[in-house]
């Protein structure tokens, strides 16, 4: 279940998680230069479906309200099209900020109620960690059965049409490099702990 109350220690943890993710974005400091012009919101193809708009997200970040941002659906409705990023007059990489916010939401467990993308993203990471590549059928089975059984019914006709044309691989194909990937991820985790 999604959390709704956020304590002071949570706020601190959220800020530090966010900063960690954000610092991976080149020129991340430019987030401070937002002039609240709204070009991001106006350029966004999905802002009409967001409860908090991209411009407001930048404002809430500066007001120290990451908790409110993370509980909005906006972070998960961003389709990573980079329209905001190429148009922002202050050079804020809005799409990359959204990626950082999604990762913080998943790590901290602070997610909007009913939003399905986090489960999809987690299932994707699990499948790739396991096989080294995405296995479309297993990903969709994991996601729909666990998180969106009704959605499965809606997707089934398309699934069957793809299957008839041989466009669905039912068995995942692992790669030899799975071991490489495991070693790499273990090393990243070791450094994070140490």
């Amino acid at each position: 279940m999604a959390k709704t109350e956020v304590s002071a220690s949570d706020t601190e943890e959220l800020n530090s998680l966010f900063l960690r993710e954000l610092r991976l974005v080149p020129e991340w400091e430019k987030i401070k230069l937002c002039i609240q012009c709204g070009t991001c919101t106006a350029s966004c193809p999905t802002s009409w479906a967001m409860d908090i708009k991209p411009r407001e997200i930048m404002g809430l970040f500066r007001a120290g309200r990451l908790d409110k941002v993370l509980q909005s659906n906006a972070v998960w409705i961003c389709a990573s099209c980079y329209s905001c990023t190429v148009r922002c007059p202050s050079g804020v990489k809005v799409s990359d900020v959204m990626y950082a916010l999604r990762a913080v939401g998943i790590k901290h467990g602070l997610l909007p109620k009913g939003e399905k993308y986090p489960a999809l993203a987690k299932a994707f990471a699990k499948v790739v960690d396991k096989y080294g590549r995405n296995a479309e059928s297993e990903l969709l089975a994991r996601y729909y059965l666990r998180s969106d059984p009704l959605g499965l019914g809606k997707q089934l006709p398309l699934g069957l049409r793809l299957l008839r044309r041989g466009r669905l691989a039912l068995l995942p194909k692992g790669i030899r490099g799975r071991e490489d990937i495991e070693k790499m991820m273990t090393e990243l985790e070791r450094e994070d702990r140490g």
């Binding site: 993710e21 610092r23 991976l24 974005v25 080149p26 193809p45 999905t46 479906a49 998960w76 409705i77 389709a79 990573s80 099209c81 980079y82 329209s83 990023t85 190429v86 990489k93 990626y99 999604r102 990762a103 998943i106 790590k107 399905k116 993308y117 999809l120 993203a121 987690k122 994707f124 990471a125 790739v128 080294g132 590549r133 296995a135 479309e136 969709l140 969106d148 959605g151 809606k154 997707q155 398309l158 049409r161 793809l162 044309r165 041989g166 466009r167 669905l168 691989a169 790669i175 490099g177 071991e179 490489d180 990937i181 070693k183 790499m184 991820m185 273990t186 090393e187 990243l188 450094e191």
Partner: protein, 288 residues
């Protein structure tokens, strides 16, 4: 034959199989040797990047490292792979701390990445390396004024605009015109298809796709050419669903751009796998 290292991406193994097959055949006929990167892994994609950026970068870095030892450009056919592999390159070049950490992870797997792999999209290679002359020479059956909406989507040219304009790209329009097709005026050509939102937010995504399809039909296009497997499936796989939701009557063929190229080069079903397409392609294939 000029050699490139080829990165098919995960979609190429199943839903985007016809893209992979047609890309390999078209490239070969144009004197380009796409040598598949041995044992490549998932690039990380937008989805893993939403879970953990460092781990996603590490996934891309393994591919970049494997490609570096081969010494030729790494060519992707999926815009998502192209974008993610490029992003990993840019981020590692801009951030020594991140590069150091990824280097240590690579080292743990016996790999090393100096940072020299150049990531390309196949469209870039065809338009800018092969070029107009050689491509016009390869035409066997002119596309005879076929009206095509050239659809680029987002992650090919944004955010960096590495080989085309970020908001109004033209390379695919030019390429199609070299085959005798007539690209229609399609102002939404670089607007978003919603990508993975078709799975998690289908109502939002259907609206985006409906606009793209209706604009193509409205512009007089007989078909749409795509350069990304996810765009292709979003544009062709949900037309029935969209017609039901919006009361439209959309039924427009959606091709991988390499399939249209192959038709003009005289190729058939074996080389292009048109039977994989969910939208009717027969009438157009018969005209070529």
């Amino acid at each position: 034959m000029k050699e490139y290292t080829y990165y098919p991406g995960c979609s190429a193994e199943a839903s985007g199989r016809a893209y992979d097959i047609s890309a390999r055949n078209v490239a070969q006929a144009l004197g380009i040797d796409l040598v598949e990167l041995p044992d490549w892994n998932c690039c990380g994609a937008t989805t893993y990047l939403s879970v953990d950026a460092e781990r996603a970068m590490a996934l891309s870095a393994r591919n970049l490292a494997l490609a570096e030892s081969r010494g030729s450009d790494l060519v992707a056919i999926c815009s998502g792979c192209f974008s993610m592999l490029s992003k990993a390159n840019h981020r590692m070049a801009a951030n020594g701390e991140l590069k150091g950490k990824i280097d240590r992870a690579l080292h743990a797997a016996g790999l090393e990445y100096k940072g020299t792999t150049r990531v390309r999209h196949l469209l870039d290679v065809l338009v800018n390396d092969v070029g107009e002359g050689a491509i016009r020479d390869s035409v066997e059956k002119d596309l005879k004024g076929l009206k095509v909406a050239a659809y680029y989507g987002c992650q090919l040219s944004r955010p960096k605009g590495m080989f085309d304009d970020p908001e109004f790209p033209t390379s695919l329009d030019r390429l199609l015109s070299w085959f005798g097709a007539e690209p229609v005026s399609y102002p939404v050509k670089a607007k978003c298809c919603g990508g993975m939102l078709m799975t998690s937010q289908s109502e939002v995504c259907e609206r985006l796709v409906q606009k793209l399809l209706s604009a193509a039909v409205g512009a007089g296009a007989e078909c749409i050419a795509t350069i990304c497997p996810l765009c292709q499936i979003n544009l062709e796989g949900y037309q029935k669903q969209i017609n039901k939701a919006f009361g439209t009557r959309l039924d427009i063929p959606v091709f991988y751009f390499t399939q249209l190229m192959g038709l003009a080069m005289g190729m058939g079903e074996k080389e292009l796998r048109l039977s994989d397409n969910l939208t009717p392609s027969g009438a157009i294939a018969a005209r070529c």
